[in-house]
């Protein structure tokens, strides 16, 4: 038990302090992310360059504005989006290891993108996938793919009830989708295949400034929907039956949370490719850090913590002191898998989320 009062100060202060500490951490990691890379930029260079780009060294300004800032912003978006999507899925499926990548939601959006990109060669001749219109196309395709997958998984979960079976099905469906994508690649034209391969190699750094104009509003919409669904998610903590008996409108609740999860997971997969394990890990870290399971608290908390974790992952992937950069997905997997194993062991002791 944490003491609820300390030196006469009300608990509310600590509640604020918890999130303020995280926000400070977010700013620090954001700056660190801007500074690190193949060309080191010092703190004294980066801060003035951010606020007065015209007065700064043009090379530094260009590095910051063309590359580092979009990448850091993408990392913040990806971390927040994947973590909140994971939190919602863990609550809805009442499964501590649910996440967009595990249940095949990310593969669903890959399939959407694959169908769009590989058929784009025939339908929209000459359209660049990296233009604004192309970005919207990709992201819409990813949403639809993720949404379809979400509906499929929920239908199966309702029939099966058993958590582990649902996870295995998610993995099976992911494999099936990869196979379908493989077949699509085989039949597609050389140029669209090339665009698709480039897309699959996506990383935090590959997001263009044009794409950011799509990514940021999309993620913001998803997060807003998540905020709106926090009461529904609280009721889901006790299971669907209790939620129903408390008068929850199941249809609205599912619609809102599915839309939110699909938009969040779909958008990130569309622009950054698959990034594993962040969505599973961060909600658990947030519950531990905030000592809470209520979503009015967890959703903002998970959002900020997710952004911090993703920025940290990006910093690690740049291997400070070396010239190379690791793929972000490898970093999150290597750090994430031991944590998932820890969660499974914790869960044996403690029961569900």
């Amino acid at each position: 038990m944490r003491s609820r009062k300390f030196l006469g100060m009300h608990v509310r202060f600590w509640r604020e302090a918890e999130i303020i500490l995280l926000l400070v951490l977010l700013c620090v990691f954001f700056l660190l992310d801007l500074m690190s890379g193949s060309v080191p930029v010092s703190l004294s260079q980066s801060i003035p360059a951010l606020f007065h780009p015209s007065a700064a060294d043009p090379t530094i300004a260009s590095i910051l504005y063309q590359f580092r800032l979009p990448k850091a912003l993408t990392a913040v978006m990806a971390g927040a989006a994947l973590s909140v999507a994971g939190l919602q899925m863990q609550t809805i499926f009442r499964n501590p290891v649910a996440g967009p990548d595990i249940l095949g939601i990310s593969s669903g959006s890959s399939l959407g993108v694959a169908i769009f990109v590989l058929s784009a060669g025939w339908i929209f001749k000459g359209m660049s996938l990296f233009s604004l219109a192309g970005s919207w196309g990709i992201v819409l395709a990813a949403w639809l793919g993720a949404g379809a997958m979400m509906v499929l998984v929920v239908l199966l979960a309702a029939r099966l009830r058993d958590l582990m079976t649902v996870l295995i099905l998610g993995i099976l469906i992911s494999s099936a989708i990869l196979a379908v994508v493989g077949v699509l690649q085989y039949f597609s034209s050389e140029s669209s295949l090339k665009s698709f391969i480039v897309w699959t190699m996506g990383s935090l750094g590959s997001t263009t400034r044009d794409q950011l104009w799509v990514l940021v509003p999309a993620v913001m919409t998803g997060l807003l929907l998540a905020f709106l669904s926090s009461k529904f998610l609280d009721a889901f903590l006790l299971g669907e039956n209790y939620a129903k008996s408390m008068g929850m409108n199941l249809r609205v609740a599912y619609l809102l949370t599915f839309a939110s999860t699909s938009i969040l997971a779909g958008s990130i997969t569309a622009f950054c490719g698959p990034i594993g394990f962040v969505g599973i890990i961060v909600p658990h870290l947030a519950r531990k850090y905030f000592h809470s399971s209520l979503h009015s608290r967890l959703i903002p908390g998970t959002m900020v913590l997710g952004a911090v974790v993703m920025l940290a992952g990006d910093l690690i992937s740049q291997l400070p002191g070396y010239e190379m950069t690791l793929p972000i997905n490898s970093v999150t997997s290597l750090l994430g898998i031991p944590l998932v194993i820890w969660i499974i062991f914790q869960n044996k002791k403690m029961g569900a989320i």
Binding site: M1, K231, D234, K244, S245, M246, G247, F290, L294, G351
Partner: protein, 372 residues
């Protein structure tokens, strides 16, 4: 009268239906009711449809046909959030959520009353505190739901239902998996809620004794029909005997208010003892399968015979086999309390023992088959 009637079913059929398979009727033509300030116990064997009925009442599944009235409106006319203000539900599911305090859990019960973001106002907080007090969990507000005992968790779930502030509370086996002390505590809390707040509490249970002593009304689900009435009437009319049609050895004892397992009778015994010793002896002899035919507290004359006499225990097996080879059957026995302890007489056999335990053991040995 209508105001008083919180729940009413007429010709209700319950079961499962979906678009693909033909509907499965679990029970049909149910006519039952539950009134204000009543504790209603739903009894029935496993698989007879208790949970299906409770799920139908709580609105988790639709009735196949018939009428279901909640308070003064047909259930079908309620919106989900309206129904949640009339009826709350506690299921058998064990809720294990880490990092959720008792206060937060109970607070979820305010769901039908709070705004879109679930924010609690001063009135909500008061109702939550009262619900926690009502189930005797004061001081547990900040404890984690995953770290309290099963009995405390069940009380917290009841507090959550109370916070929903409904006329009707439906509980599916609220005392299952609990020890006697926790069981008693739950039933006491429910009884108090009925008495002090006039709630209507419907609960399913396998604990016949509790149901008969605490419930105002019983819904007894039998194989073919559902019988409704006050406990005494249901017991007196012998409905409980048909509760377990597959097991004719289970007989309901109206006086004891519970089932007794009728054993094959070994024999009869004339018992001579008094006071609490006699009570103990009667129970022990009945347990061993004997019927007490004569209950006299005076000494009865001990028939003299030339039978072998055992005065020491343990009875050695050689002597025992000797007894049994005489085809000695303890069909009719005399058991007498003496100054030294107990004496046991049956035709051809006499034993003097010091304690009741030794007496039981001697009778047991007489009735056991011989070791091969």
């Amino acid at each position: 009268m209508v105001e008083d009637r919180y729940l009413f079913c007429k010709g209700l059929s319950i079961g499962y239906q979906d678009r693909i398979t033909p509907s499965v009727v679990v029970k049909s033509n149910l006519t039952i009711r539950a009134l204000r300030g009543e504790m209603v116990a739903l009894l029935g064997g496993n698989g007879v449809g208790k949970s299906t009925l409770l799920r139908t009442l709580a609105g988790f599944q639709l009735p196949l046909s018939g009428e279901l009235w909640i308070h003064n409106k047909p259930a079908a006319e309620y919106r989900a959030d309206e129904l949640a203000r009339e009826m709350s539900f506690v299921s058998t599911e064990v809720v294990r959520v880490a990092h959720l305090t008792v206060r937060e859990l109970v607070g979820l019960g305010r769901y039908p009353y709070t705004n879109w973001f679930g924010e609690l106002n001063e009135k909500d907080r008061e109702i939550i505190s009262k619900a926690i007090r009502d189930v005797g969990l004061s001081g547990y507000e900040d404890r984690q739901v995953s770290r309290i005992s099963d009995g405390e968790r069940q009380r917290a779930m009841i507090a959550r239902a109370l916070a929903q502030d409904t006329r009707i509370l439906v509980l599916d086996e609220p005392t299952a998996f609990l020890d006697i002390s926790n069981k008693y505590e739950i039933v006491r809390i429910l009884h108090q809620l009925v008495k002090e707040q006039g709630k209507c509490i419907i609960f399913s249970t396998h604990d016949l004794h509790t149901a008969l002593s605490m419930a105002d009304r019983i819904w007894l689900m039998l194989d073919g029909e559902v019988v409704e009435g006050i406990p005494e009437e249901i017991a007196e009319k012998g409905y409980f005997d048909s509760l377990f049609p597959g097991n004719p050895q289970l007989k309901f004892d109206v006086d004891k208010g519970d089932f007794t397992f009728s054993k094959n009778r070994t024999g009869t015994v004339r018992l001579s003892a008094s006071g609490s010793t006699r009570r103990m002896a009667v129970k022990a002899l009945e347990r061993l399968g004997f019927e007490i035919v004569e209950e006299e507290t005076d000494r009865i004359a001990i028939p003299k015979n030339t039978a072998p006499k055992i005065t020491n225990l343990p009875v050695d097996s050689a002597l025992l086999s000797k007894i049994l080879s005489n085809d000695l059957q303890p069909v009719e026995m005399n058991v007498t309390q003496t100054e030294q302890g107990w004496s046991l007489h049956l035709p051809g056999f006499t034993a003097e023992v010091e304690t009741l335990e030794e007496l039981c053991r001697t009778i047991k040995l007489l009735t056991l088959p011989q070791e091969s």
